[in-house]
Point group: C2
């Protein structure tokens, strides 16, 4: 397994020659009673009991490996390196059949606590440039284990889209001395056409140039660059959990599969990749969750590959999701 850089776009591609097999087990490897299969525990709640509620383990079939260094090197014109990094699984609940959106606010807050703890820990490893958290829900989104779980990765590079975000955020800040995302939030709250839900701490809206139908972002309404430093107090974690569950329930009423990806500030050593300095990232970058539903409709027919094509206006998506909330609340 290695990382190769596209000489055209300068982005990194994970290149694997065949995939390792999943450990052969009877039943779900993430269920209680199967802990012997995945002996290393990186985080557990409650601490010191076999009756865990949330558990973080190394991925049994990792795409990044934690040992050694990146060994970045050339091959003629090309660049490659080892797939150094971390790949972890956050087991969100003991119960195999209880999806995240159906768990209690307090339980989801414990999941968020596990995530902030692991992300903060990995960010201290100076070999890594970026740490993120993502969740593939449903087979169409590539969920390969039924048991409710998220994944955490740490990589020796900054992913393409995050790199663009950092650059845009920095340029806007240089021009305006304000955060781009804070200004976007202000406009969304004023226009009230793409907003889905908001309160005094969080906002959810369908972005103006949504890439897929029902794309939704969840952000803190007060500026903060890093999820793992912002969502640390218990009350804040419970609030964030309640807000996120509400958004997921809305989305699940229109799509059974989605990708959820955390965008948080890169690791401190990544500052050297930017022309500015570290201080500006804390001021110009705004952490958020991007949720991309996987909906296969006829609209896929225009697969232009180079241009995103979205068959549903975000204004309409937001309107549907605002209504979906009411129905979900009534049903629940």
């Amino acid at each position: 397994m290695e990382l190769r850089r596209d000489p055209i776009t300068q982005s990194w591609v994970i290149q694997e020659e065949g995939e390792g097999p999943w450990p052969q087990v009877a039943g779900c490897p993430l269920c209680p009673g199967q802990e012997a299969l995945t002996p290393r525990t990186l985080y557990v709640h409650p601490y010191g009991t076999a009756e865990w509620q949330v558990r973080v383990i190394p991925h049994p079939r990792p795409i990044y490996r934690i040992e050694g260094d990146a060994q970045r090197r050339g091959e003629g014109l090309y660049d490659k390196m080892r797939s150094l990094g971390a790949h972890e699984i956050v087991i969100e609940h003991r119960n195999h059949n209880l999806p995240l959106s159906q768990q209690s606010d307090e339980h989801v807050a414990q999941v968020l606590r596990a995530c902030t703890s692991r992300v903060a820990d990995l960010k201290r490893d100076r070999r890594f440039r970026y740490v993120t958290l993502f969740r593939n829900q449903g087979t169409a989104a590539g969920q390969d284990l039924e048991h409710p779980h998220s994944q955490i990765t740490a990589t020796p590079f900054i992913p393409r889209r995050v790199g663009y975000e950092l650059r845009s955020a920095q340029r806007y800040y240089e021009l305006k001395e304000r955060c781009l995302v804070c200004d976007i939030l202000k406009q969304e709250l004023m226009q009230q056409v793409r907003t889905v839900e908001w309160d005094d701490q969080f906002v959810a809206f369908c972005p103006f140039a949504s890439r897929v139908p029902y794309e939704t972002w969840v952000l803190p309404s007060q500026h903060h660059c890093a999820f793992e430093e912002d969502v640390v107090q218990w009350e804040r974690q419970v609030h964030c959990a309640r807000f996120l569950r509400s958004i997921l329930r809305r989305l699940e009423s229109v799509a059974s599969s989605y990708h959820l990806v955390l965008h948080t500030a890169p690791n401190v050593n990544a500052k050297f990749e930017r022309s500015g300095n570290w201080r500006t990232i804390t001021e110009d970058y705004h952490w958020h969750f991007e949720i991309l539903p996987v909906i296969t409709t006829k609209s896929k027919s225009y697969s232009l590959k180079e241009v995103y094509y979205n068959s549903l206006a975000p204004e309409t998506a937001a309107e549907e999701l605002r209504k979906a909330g009411v129905e979900a609340a009534v049903k629940g």
Copy 2:
């Protein structure tokens, strides 16, 4: 229908509120005898006969519209414009059931002639910044009409990936005074591990950082920036047709669906988007076809969204495709 710019990545998204219906017809709208359904003909071969062999028409359900101007404007922080452009269908053969790869070299050369003619014509329209040709083969690649056809689009913006290519090509040229793609070709022909097929005019290889299994590029071995100016002589068109057919037959032995996309130099008025001048594009840009097979394997399980993950090494892909050619030739 409008175009909206993502404030983060600066790329344009086509935003449509519902899709127009296909014209209700009995049978295939692209077959001979149905010409009354699509009366406007933009190109036909042979000229002046009802017994056409290749025909280009406006797309009956276009995503870009040719009338008027772009009306680029702001909405607070955001940017949008009309989906100005052209969207055409190249009907590749009278025969509904004869895929491109099974047509004769001379017939495919006529298809290429139709394409170069239409691309060159659209490039003269100064409202457009980029013209391209693409082909969705198979339902998994979004082919919505069974009849063999390609599509041509002209857009008032340069697509994201092409923009990165132009920038990389320009930077490399500034550094080396050589074309990046020419240097890549030289290395590929020397290493002989990712090359699929080559002769005195064209080269096909699986790129070093392939985004999907069996990704294949087809390029002229002599430097040229623009397909529509390079493949104009009949002998060259026949040669290109024969080469392309051979590659498609190899790919069809491993994947039933693929996207084929032409990357050619942008329109002349797009030069103002670059810090350099027009002259450098002709020297630093190298036209090519990118072919992206659509293969849904278990490897999709790692949908990291922000990072490409490819489960098959391009060296292995190229080896298989080189062998596939032998078998296809034997079968044919």
